[in-house]
């Protein structure tokens, strides 16, 4: 799947040299070096995955270990996929997913475009902008609930200061309408720098000579932007979108700290719903089937992601 020129150079120890090398053969060393990692991943990822798939066909409940385990066939899957509550959860996830991606791409690309002009202090501002995405989402999310407090919260104060609303009744995370936007705002604050960095790499990969040629042809700046900048940066943008998509599809820590899924179920994203089923209601069989549907979706998206990754690598 990965074919960079580097791979091809690296792969082949020249045949005559390989025969002269002392000690273990390359093949043995390759095995010794790779095996521990693969073994650990098999133990911690693949074995549990197979276990999950097996459990997904049963009615097992962890908190009732003595109950007999029945195989229920596809009934768990049937229940999940016909349940309108799960469907609503998916729609809440979709709202979160779409708006965070739209906002992050717009702001992130704009910032990257500006940063690409190489003004003074460029590096310093980039580092400052990047801070939020390196921090612990749970800890930061928890603190954002403070910023979102009615009256005493800084965010609410600033908003009511400019809109002239009543500071004591204006609440972001307590409001059914606004809660789903509250999580979008924090995620955008946190992850816009991620999109920005990737877009910046995309913009920097465009050689100046192309713009110079376009300038000679008297193409307007506007035209250059749409015919050169956007198409050339597109693979990078795809990469950023796919990665943010996967990450936010499984979003848990930030949102669970911010709203805990409420008010009502308005911000109950898929992972939060799954956590309730698995670790609060202890419906292990059912939640295993739920987990498998998420696995398959993420695995599918991940394959597209790797394809996009290789496209960028070729550049």
């Amino acid at each position: 799947m990965i074919h960079t020129p580097m791979d091809k150079i690296a792969e082949a120890t020249p045949e005559p040299l390989a025969r002269k090398v002392r000690g273990l053969s390359d093949r043995a060393i390759a095995w010794i070096f790779v095996a521990p990692s693969i073994f650990l991943l098999l133990a911690v990822n693949i074995f549990p995955l197979i276990w999950t798939i097996r459990l997904s066909f049963t009615n097992y409940k962890v908190n009732r270990p003595n109950r007999e385990i029945d195989f229920v066939g596809l009934r768990n899957y049937e229940r999940i996929l016909t349940d309108s509550d799960t469907w609503m959860t998916m729609q809440a996830t979709a709202h979160f997913l779409i708006w965070t991606i739209v906002l992050q791409v717009l702001i992130g690309f704009a910032l990257a475009y500006l940063l690409n002009m190489k003004f003074k202090g460029n590096d310093m501002w980039t580092t400052i902008i990047v801070f939020p995405m390196m921090l612990s989402p749970a800890v930061v999310g928890n603190f954002w609930t403070f910023l979102y407090q009615p009256q005493i919260g800084l965010f609410n104060y600033v908003v009511t200061f400019f809109t002239g609303g009543d500071p004591s009744s204006f609440s972001m995370i307590g409001d059914v309408q606004l809660a789903s936007w509250a999580i979008v705002i924090v995620d955008t604050w946190m992850w816009t720098p991620f999109v920005m960095l990737i877009c910046l790499a995309g913009l920097r990969s465009i050689p100046d000579s192309i713009y110079e040629a376009a300038e000679c042809d008297r193409a307007s700046k506007w035209r250059q932007f749409w015919t050169i900048t956007i198409p050339m940066a597109l693979p990078f943008l795809m990469l950023a979108v796919l990665f943010r998509g996967i990450e936010n599809f499984k979003m848990f820590d930030l949102v669970v700290q911010l709203t805990g899924g409420g008010p009502g179920n308005t911000t109950t994203l898929t992972s939060i719903d799954l956590k309730r089923e698995a670790f609060e209601k202890w419906r292990t069989g059912y939640s295993s089937a739920y987990a498998v549907t998420l696995f398959v979706t993420v695995f599918g998206l991940a394959s597209i992601y790797v394809k996009a990754l290789n496209k960028v690598k070729e550049r």
Binding site: M1, I2, A10, L17, G23, L24, D26, R27, I29, A30, V34, P36, S37, I38, L40, L41, A43, P48, T52, L55, V62, L111, M117, K120, D123, W125, T127, I128, I129, V130, F131, M134, L135, A138, V139, V140, F143, L147, Q151, I152, Y157, L197, I198, D208, E215, L239, F249, K250, F252, D253, S271, A278, F279, T284, S288, A291, L294, A302, N310, V312
Partner: protein, 312 residues
């Protein structure tokens, strides 16, 4: 300065610089607010309108590390005079210290699990990355994809069987269990990143060493490892930051002995009502090291977040 048609004008640059600066200031504001709140008194922290200028105090930090109980004035007066400055500070709030809080423990757990898993991850990851970079490994591409896909999986979904498995093995709520788990999750990042770094080291160096009579293994640790030192260091920091920040597994699989700081900090409450300065103090101590690491890492950030795909 050479003239170029693609170079933006001074005015454009000035505009760009100002716009970026404004965004940077707005984006850093919540972080500054965390740090500032840590030095406020509880009353100042919930003042309306929010206080920008305040008298700094260490109350938040004292409250973070202690457990206290409220006493009425008569009982307070009956006590012997306070021995230390923090004793005195707590007394002024009408409380007495009853013991140490668990923050220190939780923080140490974060350190142990973070460094333990990073170390293990680097040992396994460097070896695997070297093999993937230099040898013909059967099914190489599939293995690399498989390794990457393990990281993409939703943690909550993975946690269900891990929880069952750890329970069987007695690894629930142990340092070892968390170290193994974080190592497995970080392995994808370290293998992919390090493969990129090792790919960049010319093969000729090792071939020369091999001709000089080194074994493959000697060539690996005497020639390749020193060359890859920067790459290994930055990969290690990435792994450390991830393990440091991780919340989902930690909150589901640990409760008492091995709980790390991220699930603990949100549970900090004061005596009567949420003690925001203490929460902010805990967050500050926890977040500032990561900010320092971010500054150190800034040249390699892009590589880290794209699994080594984008190099510049």
């Amino acid at each position: 300065m050479s003239f170029s048609v693609t170079e933006p004008s001074v005015a454009t640059k000035w505009f760009a610089g100002t716009a970026v600066m404004l965004y940077a200031i707005i984006t850093i504001l919540p972080l500054m607010w965390i740090i500032a709140t840590g030095f406020k008194s509880p009353a100042d922290s919930i003042a309306y309108p929010p206080k920008v200028v305040f008298e700094p105090t260490l109350e938040g930090y004292v409250n973070l590390f202690t457990q206290r109980t409220r006493l009425n004035q008569d009982d307070l007066d009956a006590l012997p005079p306070p021995e230390t400055w923090y004793d005195e500070m707590v007394r002024e709030q009408g409380q007495v210290i009853t013991g140490r809080s668990r923050y220190g423990e939780r923080f140490m757990n974060s350190v142990i699990i973070g460094f333990g898993s990073t170390f293990l991850c680097m040992v396994l990851g460097t070896a695997a990355a070297y093999a993937f970079s230099r040898f013909r490994v059967p099914l190489k591409d599939d293995l690399l994809f498989f390794i990457l896909s393990t990281r993409m999986m939703p943690p909550i979904a993975v946690a269900i069987p891990i929880f069952l498995m750890f329970r069987q093995l007695g690894l629930n709520d142990t340092h070892l269990g968390m170290i193994l788990l974080y190592t497995a999750v970080n392995l994808s990042l370290s293998v992919w990143l390090l493969k990129g770094f090792i790919d960049e080291i010319p093969v000729e160096y090792e071939e020369a060493a091999l001709i000089d009579g080194y074994t493959r293994f000697q060539a690996f640790y005497k020639v390749v490892l020193p060359q890859a030192a920067t790459g290994i260091a930055s990969t290690a920091i990435f792994c450390l930051i991830f393990a440091w920040n991780e919340y989902a597994f930690a909150v589901l699989l640990t409760s008492g002995t091995a709980q790390t700081a991220p699930p603990f900090i949100p549970t900090i409450i004061g005596v009567g009502g949420k003690d925001w300065p203490a929460v902010a103090a805990g967050a500050t101590i926890f977040l500032v090291p990561v900010m320092v690491f971010t500054i150190l890492l800034r040249k390699h950030l892009l590589r880290g977040i794209t699994f080594g795909a984008v190099r510049k």
